[in-house]
């Protein structure tokens, strides 16, 4: 049920899958958050013809993986590590999105509580 009911509890605060966070990035943090950095350059991705939906923060690993595939073309098992690296990065990206969702939900619940108290 975790997948199907995943965003069900967030309906109370009008939050659904693939919504954009509405609070300031620093709201609710006691420390300064580290900014995500894009390693691959746009020109490299264009040159490698990586489709736009894959030009995310993990695209430098995708580039490595594709370069490896190109170099070892019939022997694709040699690129297992590159592929693993890339998929791990995508997994961490997804976990970050889940964290952002939960943060957004909690902040909205808190805002509701404060408005209700006032």
């Amino acid at each position: 049920m975790g997948q199907v009911m995943g965003s069900y509890g967030a309906r109370n605060v009008d939050l659904y899958m693939d919504d954009k966070p509405s609070f300031e990035p620093q709201t609710g943090f006691s420390y300064e958050r580290k900014q995500r950095e894009m390693v691959a350059r746009e020109e490299e991705l264009v040159s490698a013809r990586i489709p736009p939906q894959f030009r995310d923060y993990c695209s430098h690993k995708l580039l490595d993986y594709q370069v490896c595939r190109y170099k070892n073309m019939p022997m694709l098992y040699k690129c297992a590590h590159e592929k693993h690296d890339y998929l791990n990065c995508e997994h961490q990206d997804y976990v970050l999105r889940m964290k952002e969702f939960e943060r957004e939900r909690r902040l909205r619940v808190r805002e509701q509580r404060l408005v209700g108290a006032a």
């Binding site: 009911m5 899958m17 990035p25 900014q35």
Partner: protein, 173 residues
């Protein structure tokens, strides 16, 4: 060249010439367009009688289509599907259940055994058909509109792309 061929045909193979002339005469004289076309709409009783005789019917059973339908003097035959005809009668054309010189219905193509019979008894009544149709379609739509308010998804925010402005990790600098 042509005259040699013609001479050769006439002298050496008269059968060939006869066949050619026969085909040409048939094509010119029995042109389907006016042969198959019905006559003008009969207005006087004499014209009606002539039309009935033309289609091999008695005056009592001959009944033309209304003039504005454009069928001319073609007879309006009863709408009887081939399925409703007697299967044991020795027809001249058993495959069509039709006798020689029997007038053909103006919409004969739909009353064949493979198509439609107006006297057909449907397996399910019309009311039952509508009930099932509206039940399935209406039920699906009701379910759709009811579930509009219960959209579910995975608990993630939109995917972060570098072009959408700064994004932050859950870690300190």
């Amino acid at each position: 060249m042509a005259s040699t061929l013609l001479k050769k045909a006439i002298l050496t193979n008269p059968q060939y010439l006869r066949k050619t002339v026969g085909v040409l005469c048939n094509g010119v004289r029995n042109h389907w367009n006016y042969q198959y076309k019905p006559g003008a709409y009969p207005k006087t009783p004499e014209e009606r009688a002539a039309a009935a005789k033309k289609y091999g019917m008695t005056i009592e059973e001959y009944q033309p289509y209304p003039e504005e339908m454009g069928y001319g003097d073609y007879p309006k035959l009863p709408d009887i599907g081939a399925d409703s005809r007697d299967p044991h009668y020795p027809y001249d054309n058993p495959e069509f259940k039709r006798n020689f010189n029997e007038p053909i219905h103006a919409s004969a193509e739909i009353f064949g055994e493979d198509r439609y019979d107006p006297a057909m008894r449907p397996r399910f009544s019309v009311g039952r058909q509508w009930t099932w149709f509206l039940g399935v379609v209406g039920g699906s739509m009701a379910l759709y509109f009811y579930l509009e308010d219960y959209k579910m998804g995975r608990p993630v925010t939109a995917k972060q792309y570098p072009g959408d402005g700064p994004h932050y990790l859950f870690a300190s600098k």
